[in-house]
């Protein structure tokens, strides 16, 4: 696949121009491998049959030229030059039987593989980019409809909820007012009944509050209703002539006592 990447037409002039271009464009190469691949094209053979020895010579010559032109070469170009010089000597000298490392041929074959692989990747990259591309040659739907997320809320209630709800209303309406109010309300009759029994023992002035039954004395609601009932009852008893009432001044305690029997 490598052979179709460059033209067959070539002259020594063109080769020289190309070589000069290489020097000028050193900054355009993406590293030594890229440069080596460009140099390899001048050999005009399948990369599998490339002479690595020749390539090494070309590269080293390039580096020499670059030095002569005082071009700043990146370190990896010099590292590659050193490695290729080593490879060249290995390829030229007969193999040393004591050497444990890889042979010059193995190293050369690997470099050839790397070049061929890079070349192959460039070719397929070009083929990939030449394909019909979405948004350039092939098009997706222009008017899209989003899937709308419809949130549907359903409400639930159980029969129990329903009955409890009804019970709640019914309890509130029917029972509370009667049951609760009876419990916390003292009538005048109740107080009168109570006082008729107690008044016989009240010879001295006594605060009316002391007549309240102890169980009605603590809760303010009950205390208020009991106080009112006892006051009303005491007025009734005074009217009947059973007791006397006195109050020193406004808001001061109200005292009652049994009315002393008069001569009839």
């Amino acid at each position: 696949m490598a052979q179709d990447t460059y033209d067959t037409a070539d002259t020594s002039v063109a080769a020289r121009i190309a070589a000069e271009a290489l020097i000028v464009d050193v900054g355009a190469f993406e590293g030594p491998l890229d440069l080596l691949l460009s140099l390899s094209r001048t050999q005009k053979v399948d990369l599998r049959k490339i002479s690595i020895l020749e390539l090494a010579r070309q590269y080293l010559a390039f580096v020499e030229q670059a030095k002569a032109l005082r071009l700043e070469l990146a370190a990896d170009y010099l590292v590659m030059a050193a490695w290729l010089a080593f490879l060249k000597s290995r390829l030229l000298l007969p193999p040393d039987p004591d050497d444990e490392g890889p042979s010059g041929e193995e190293l050369a074959a690997h470099l050839a593989f790397q070049l061929e692989r890079l070349e192959a990747m460039r070719n397929v990259a070009a083929r990939l980019m030449a394909r019909d591309q979405l948004g350039r040659d092939i098009f997706a739907r222009g008017i899209t409809e989003d899937v709308t997320r419809v949130r549907r809320v359903t409400y639930t209630a159980t029969l129990l909820d329903l009955m409890q709800g009804y019970a709640r209303i019914r309890t509130r309406d029917d029972f509370r007012p009667f049951v609760m109010d009876r419990e916390n309300l003292m009538t005048m009759e109740q107080a009168l009944d109570r006082m008729r029994h107690l008044i016989g023992f009240a010879g001295e002035w006594t605060d009316i509050v002391s007549y309240l039954p102890p169980e009605w004395d603590h809760d303010p609601v009950r205390r208020r209703t009991a106080t009112a009932a006892h006051f009303a009852a005491s007025l009734e008893l005074a009217k009947e002539g059973k007791i006397e009432i006195r109050q020193g001044e406004t808001f001061s305690p109200i005292h009652i006592r049994k009315r002393a029997p008069r001569d009839v």
């Binding site: 997706a140 222009g142 209630a157 709800g165």
Partner: protein, 208 residues
């Protein structure tokens, strides 16, 4: 079909023109007019005819060619609109106000709004009744033959189905609610209870 305007270039076959219209309408982000089609297709094409043929080709398919003003676009077939919706169902508990309103309608139907308010002791929002109507749990009953002819509310068949009741008469009475521990178990003053029971059974007079 129009006369070929330019004899120098042969217009593409109609089948190809059809493909072109199809592709343009598919890929363009807005509906496309016939002049716009003509402007994009090769010289000598007849977009109106091609459009008509595309329209026929898509008849009865999942997408159809639709006219929007003077332009054309592919649109999902109306009967398949449901595919474009992903329904998320969220279940929520009915509010206390709604449950109480529903309960009052169920136990006292037909009930006017004023009656519901009287029983609940608070005003009933329009939204609560609307929600219950939307849920198809209550509906409007006959108008009450009283001054102002107020509308009444009654429960629906759907309500009975949802709550597993044969009829609204199957709703437990106060005594049963109490027995079930749903009401305060304190013995209430007898008369009050009788009264409540009586009004509640208005509708269900044939109840045993």
């Amino acid at each position: 079909m129009s006369e070929p305007r330019d004899s120098l270039f042969e217009a593409p076959p109609m089948a190809d023109q059809e493909r072109m219209v199809e592709a343009i309408l598919f890929a363009t982000a807005d509906p496309v007019t016939v002049p716009q089609l003509a402007g994009r297709m090769p010289h000598g094409c007849d977009p109106a005819t091609a459009l008509a043929r595309v329209r026929i080709h898509y008849e009865g398919r999942g997408v159809t060619l639709q006219r929007i003003g003077d332009a054309w676009a592919f649109r999902t077939a109306p009967d398949l609109g449901f595919l474009m919706q992903h329904e998320v169902v969220e279940t929520r508990k009915l509010s206390r106000a709604a449950i109480e309103t529903l309960a009052i309608v169920a136990y006292h139907q037909p009930a006017t709004r004023a009656e519901i308010e009287e029983i609940r002791g608070v005003s009933v929002s329009r939204g609560t009744l609307d929600q219950l109507i939307e849920l198809d749990w209550i509906r409007l009953g006959r108008r009450r033959m009283s001054p102002g002819r107020p509308v009444t509310f009654i429960v629906t068949r759907h309500f009975l189905d949802h709550f597993g009741l044969e009829s609204a008469r199957d709703l437990p009475g106060l005594k049963e609610l109490r027995a079930a521990g749903l009401l305060d178990s304190r013995p209430p003053p007898g008369t009050e209870d009788e009264e409540a029971e009586a009004t509640q059974d208005d509708l269900f007079e044939d109840d045993a």
